[in-house]
Amino acid sequence: MSISVFEDDHFDPLLVIEANFDGPQGPFWAQLEAAIGPQLREILRYCERPAGRTGETFDLITRPGSKHPLAPFLEAHTVTPMIFHQGNRGLDRRRIDREAELFFAAQETLGNGARYHGVDAVTLHRTLRSSLRGTFDWLGEPEPVRIPGRERLADLAKLAGFAMVALLVLSFPGVLLALIVPNGWVVVSVSLLAALATGRLIKDLPDLFRQFSGSAPAPESGPPPRMRDAFARDAMKSAGSTVGFVRLALAAALFLAVYVALAATVFGALVAPLTPAPFGETIAASARVFALGLSSVPFSLCAILLWLRRLEDRDPCHDDPAVRPERLQDMMRREDFIAQNHMGSMVLVKPGLLRAVLIRAGLSGLALILRVVATSGYLGSMRTIHFAHWAMVGNGSRLMFFSNFDGSWESYLDDFIEKAHGGLTLAWGNCVGFPPARFLSLEGATHGRKFKNWARHSMATTLFWFSAYRDYTVNQIERHARVASGLRQPTLSPEEAIAWTRDL
């Protein structure tokens, strides 16, 4: 949890209380009030009285000697992030503490390891388990599932839903055309020709394709080829073989069929009462329209990209924003005391219709993808993030970012630049002053120094910060979990045992 005050030339200072906690919101605010209520009340007294409905509540809680509960007021002023990543997903605080305790007890038992010289891994596991069972009786319980099937399904369904809505929006020109033009072939050819014509106007479109198509497979030995992006590798992995390609094509076809069926049913149901035609015919006609509409998705994409590139070419950047030395000192003085660090940043969102749509679509899409993809406790090859989230504040005029991460700020930003610049550019590229990007995914954050300057400039000093487990990195928590998971098993196979002992 953190408290910081964002100051800026464009708006009054903004007090932000950021919290990452287990369980529902209501009890959390109540517990927080029980813990530091008087201090919070004192802090709130420094604030402006909010306009709108919470003004009266504010008066009530800041009156001299007031005992009025804070929780409802705080809850009313809560913003849920558009996108968040949780490291060590599925492990709550209690479990993290418990497994850490077990890990250290195991370390204590093993000592310097010399006593176990020549013992095989299976025996080692059995010995350790029997000596720890007494103290840790929960080792006998079944292991709680980290991400329940229901949650996983919901994540997948949400992502599918998002993709369908995106398809619907992108196929809008084709749908219109299909409603007017009776001949399907004409619709398709016109749409594809339009896409071709628009695509040709985007000079550097090939760069975008190059980004998403992998290069040659990695060599058997020697250094890996210098590849610029993790996306390319992922694309390569999934589309690496013919079987994979066929699978992918089948899945895509099935998805499109489901989309057309769904869209037609919903649309048909809506217009059926308005038309004299039988219900079946309406559905069939709408299915035809939506299926034909799909042919205009390439055109819509090209049109959006063309518009975006025009904006990007003219967007002003902020290569070297001045960070006040005393503010920088203030931040530096508070960093690098424990295993983790904290940062909060606030930036302005670029103006205009396209940016307004893209930032929301980009953040929600990225959020849903993250939920589906980042299930291992890590975020791709970045293994240092406990909590990171972006939220839109000030009626969508500003984008706020908070992160609790392992290691130094510099190394965290270097990780962004070296391992996650694509995602970062997608998330932050719609904000004022961000380093020049192309297609909202190329370059941008790869301008390392400019990006660091920009990020530092957008930050506020974290005035209050609490970390529940100061010494554990994301990696270490996963390591505790693996050790605990092994110790819960009555026996391990030789291979499992060897893999398990490597974490000790």
Partner: protein, 500 residues
Amino acid sequence: MDQGLVIPEDTRDATKWGLSPRQLGRIQGLVVSGFGHLPVTRALFLKLDRPGGGWLKALEKVAPITPATGRLNRSTAIAFTCAGLKRLGFSDTADIPAFALPFREGMHQPDRRRRLGDEEKNGTVIPGGPLWSGDPAATPQTVHVLLLLYAADEADLADWCAQVMATLEPAGVSLVRHLDLSLRLDPDGRAREHFGFADGFSQPVPYLAGPDSADPGGGHAARDPWHGVPMGEVLMSYTNAHDEAAPAPIVQRPADIAAKHPDLKPGGAPEGFLDLGADGSYLVVRELRQEVAAFWNSLDVAARTLGCPGIDADWLADRIVGREHDGDLLCPAGAHKTVNGQPANAVGFFREDFHGLGCPLGSHVRRANPRDGLAATEADRSALFNAANNHRILRRGRKYGETIANRLEDDGKERGLLFMCLNTDIVRQFEFIQQTWLLNRNFAGLYGETDPLLGPKGPFTIPKDPLRLKVEVETYVKMVGGDYFFLPSLPALKFMADLT
């Protein structure tokens, strides 16, 4: 201690990274070569008692700063702390802010000290705190200039130093401290540091990247697949790992002064701007004292405590360093075979030694340059390898003090290493290595341990199947002093000589 003692006949120096004679004529020789052919060195730490750069003209007559072209039988390198630049006559308000922040703040700014692990409570600094730096508030001795004199033998060096000091003292330059450095080669032609490890094998190899077009006549230097780094990582104004010209201090001067230094005019800049950084670099200097007898005695104790057959002090020391005494990298099968008489260096860790069963995950060489070893999966390998290569430094250190006669007996003499390295982004290169790799308590999935050689006292894990071994290691390397220096190009040095 991987410290870049320079190997003589270093074939890589002969290619000069594809730079042209014109470019090499502007660059200080120390950048492209460690002067391996000149085995004795004296490091003179100087203080400027009078403002102005006139003394540089006097110095030019007795010890001209060596350019990067050819070999000489005497060579000189020079670098300045921020306090030194101010004393030369750079304006505190207009000129100094153009330099990089870490250089301006110095190595001993309290937050920086914390991040670099240079706090006394860690036991990594000599008792009583560091002796020297560029910051009068931080250390008893203040250093403005580091002058390095390289010569072929002791007698010549002694004569030359006397001559240099006789020239400088009347010009208002006094000697604060000096160190005699040496490159004593063993019969096998390898230099060993005081603990007895051959070293200096793994260096980044700069190449011209991005829009830096090689001058005609520079030849073409291909990118070394394992150790290639863009030129801008070691020389300012060239393209660096972030695909931009490495930031360099650019100062403004009236047209008449600027006209005197056409060599410093940055391309395309308006009149009156001078690029003082181009072809220069930042030099990180740390004097590290080594307690050799304590090191070996404590390893004897550690080996006895373990009590495993076949594990002695030498075995433990190899694991701590990550190399065998002769410099060969450890691997699960023992050690990598030599290639053309040199230790193999074109190797990674990911495929060869993923779990650190050969070269321990927390060993000094793996922490100092993890290569592709931090990747968790084959898919991450290239990203992690490229990322690691964005944090390389070019090492130019040399040892000081005599070799210990009996490694188990403390003879009361001081010995150690003057660690020196070149980089253009101190925070992303030197400091990153020190903080995020060497002293990171959570490096590569380890917990609660730092670099066994340079870090504070603590545990050190040696992965083995089925169970790791752990030994408690003390601190045998202590920082005596150090700071960040600006290593100017030869044209910039001429500009500095004109300052008043």
